[in-house]
C-alpha cells in the first residue's frame, strides 16, 4: 500500500489460493459475527503486516466505504467486513490516492461489485473536482479457484479496464 500512483491504468491478474474458508480461519476473524459473515458473498478484508503494525489494518475511509456498500441496494449482494468493531483500525497515509480495502467476493457478484466500486469512486471524483488515482484489489472466488485482480490507475479508467478483464476471464 504505497502512498501514491503514477500509473494510468494497470491491471494485474494472478491465480491465488485465497478463499472464503481460509478467511474464516484467520486470527482476526470475529467469531461473534460468524453467522452474518459466513452468509456474505462480498467481504472487506484488512491488510496484514503493514508498516510493522502488528494488527491488521484497513485503508483510510474504509468505514465510509463499508457504510456505502451496506446501503447499496441489490438483492444478490450480501456484503460484510471481516473484523470486529474493537479490532477495526485504519491506516492513514494522508496521500491523495484512494485505496480500497481488499475485497473477496463470489464470481456471481463481480459485475455488481464493479458497478458499486465505480459509482463510489465517481462520487469521490465529483466531490473533489479533480482527477483521482485508485488502488483496488479484488479476489474473485470461482468454485474452488480464485483469481486476484489488482487495479492501479485513474478512477475514470477503472470500470472499462476491470470489466473487460472480467468478461474475458469469467464469461468466456
Amino acid at each position: 500500500m504505497l502512498h501514491e500512483s503514477h500509473k494510468t491504468k494497470e491491471l494485474k491478474v494472478n491465480d491465488v489460493n485465497l478463499s472464503f474458508s481460509e478467511i474464516y480461519r484467520k486470527p482476526y476473524f470475529p467469531h461473534e459475527h460468524e453467522e452474518s459473515i459466513k452468509k456474505a458473498n462480498l467481504l472487506l478484508l484488512p491488510f496484514e503486516g503493514m508498516r510493522g503494525f502488528e494488527k491488521p489494518v484497513f485503508p483510510e475511509e474504509t468505514m465510509s466505504f463499508y457504510n456505502y456498500i451496506r446501503e447499496y441496494e441489490n438483492n444478490e449482494l450480501i456484503p460484510d467486513i471481516c473484523i470486529s468493531d474493537q479490532d477495526y483500525h485504519e491506516l492513514e497515509l494522508h496521500a491523495d490516492l484512494i485505496t480500497l480495502p481488499l475485497l473477496l467476493l463470489d464470481k456471481v457478484v463481480l459485475p455488481i461489485a464493479i458497478g458499486l466500486i465505480t459509482h463510489y469512486l465517481t462520487q469521490k471524483q465529483v466531490a473533489r473536482k479533480r482527477d483521482l488515482k485508485v488502488k483496488v484489489n479484488v479476489t474473485v472466488v470461482d468454485g474452488d479457484k480464485s483469481k486476484s485482480l489488482s487495479y492501479e490507475g485513474d478512477v475514470d479508467q477503472f470500470e472499462e479496464t476491470v470489466k473487460a478483464a472480467s468478461d474475458n476471464l469469467f464469461n468466456s
Binding site: 502512498h3 501514491e4 459475527h33 508498516r51 510493522g52 503494525f53 489494518v57 483510510e60 468505514m63 465510509s64 463499508y66 457504510n67 467486513i81 473484523i83 468493531d85 474493537q86 477495526y88 483500525h89 485504519e90 491506516l91 492513514e92 497515509l93 494522508h94 496521500a95 491523495d96 490516492l97 466531490a127 473533489r128 473536482k129 479533480r130 488515482k133
Partner: protein
C-alpha cells in the same frame, strides 16, 4: 444585516477585503434559526458561512502572492480548496454565483504554478472515531445516525479521530495535506512563474486561463528515432526518451481576458527551474 442582505453582499462582492463583521452576524442569525427550530435556514446560513470562508482564504492567498509570501499563499489556497469541497454538495454555485466559479478555477491553476514537488505525509493508525455532532464514539456496526458531510444544527458532520498511533513520515509527491511542503536546507524555491503572473493579476476576480502543453526540448530537435538517444542511455531514441516522454517539457501559457488588452504587460518566454 439580515440573511438576505448578507446573501446579496456575498453574491455581489468583487473587492479585495470582506467585511469583518459578517461571521458574527451569521453566527447570531444561525442561533436565532436554531432557537426557532428552523433547520433549513440554519443550513442555508452554514452555506453562507462557507462562502465567506472560501472567499476570505482566496483573498488572503491573493494578498500573500502580491507580498511574495508564497508559502502562506499556498496554504491559503489549500484551505480555500478544502472549504469549497465541503460546500460543493450542498450549494449550487453554477454560473459563477458568488464568484465561486472563478475562485475554484484560479485556485487549481495557481496551485499548478508553484514549484513545490515533494511533501511529507503522515502515517498513523486511528483506533477510535467520534462524531463531531453528538461526540458519540462510532464503530463499524454502531453508528449514531449522523452522516458524514450532512448538515445538522447548522454544522457539518465529520469524524473526529481519537487514539492515534503515529507510525512514521513518508516523502510523497501528491499529499492530501498540501501544507506539508519540504524546504531543503540551502535550496530556495523559484517562484518566478508566479511573480510573472502577479505583474498582471491585479484584481482577484480578473479572468485568466492557464494552459499547459508539452513541447519538445531544444536538445531533442532533429533527433533521429533510430539514432542513439542523446541522454546517453545506450538505447535508440525511439525506445528511450521518445517513449518515456523525457524529451518533453511542460509549457505554461497564461491568457488574460480583458476589455483593454494594452493594460496587460506581455511576458517573454523563459525557462523556469524548481530551484533558484
Amino acid at each position: 444585516m439580515n440573511f438576505e442582505e448578507i446573501n446579496n453582499y456575498l453574491q455581489n462582492f468583487t473587492g479585495t477585503e470582506l467585511r469583518k463583521d459578517i461571521p458574527d452576524l451569521l453566527s447570531h442569525l444561525k442561533k436565532e434559526a436554531l432557537d426557532n427550530s428552523d433547520q433549513d435556514l440554519a443550513k442555508n446560513i452554514w452555506c453562507l458561512e462557507q462562502v465567506y470562508i472560501v472567499i476570505a482564504h482566496y483573498l488572503n492567498a491573493f494578498r500573500h502572492l502580491h507580498e511574495k509570501d508564497f508559502f502562506e499563499a499556498w496554504c491559503q489556497l489549500d484551505r480555500a480548496e478544502i472549504e469549497l469541497s465541503f460546500l460543493r454538495r450542498h450549494f449550487d454555485y453554477s454560473g459563477n454565483k458568488y464568484n465561486l466559479g472563478i475562485i475554484e478555477n484560479h485556485v487549481l491553476q495557481l496551485q499548478k504554478m508553484f514549484p513545490y514537488q515533494y511533501f511529507f505525509s503522515r502515517e498513523s493508525v486511528v483506533k477510535k472515531w467520534y462524531c463531531s455532532i453528538c461526540n458519540e464514539e462510532i464503530s463499524l456496526r454502531k453508528s449514531c445516525g449522523h452522516k458524514v458531510g450532512e448538515i445538522y444544527n447548522g454544522e457539518q458532520c465529520c469524524r473526529v479521530a481519537g487514539d492515534i498511533e503515529f507510525l512514521g513520515i513518508a516523502l510523497v509527491t501528491d499529499p492530501f495535506d498540501k501544507y506539508t511542503v519540504i524546504f531543503p536546507k540551502g535550496l530556495d524555491y523559484n517562484y518566478s512563474m508566479l511573480e510573472s503572473l502577479m505583474v498582471n493579476f491585479k484584481d482577484p476576480f480578473q479572468i485568466w486561463e492557464l494552459s499547459i502543453t508539452k513541447k519538445l526540448k531544444v536538445e531533442y530537435e532533429g533527433a533521429g528515432k533510430n539514432r542513439p538517444c542523446i541522454c546517453n542511455s545506450g538505447k535508440k531514441y525511439k525506445m528511450c526518451c521518445l517513449k518515456s516522454g523525457n524529451d518533453l517539457y511542460d509549457h505554461y501559457h497564461i491568457n488574460f481576458f480583458v476589455d483593454a488588452p494594452t493594460t496587460i504587460i506581455p511576458v517573454s518566454e523563459q525557462f523556469v527551474h524548481t530551484w533558484k
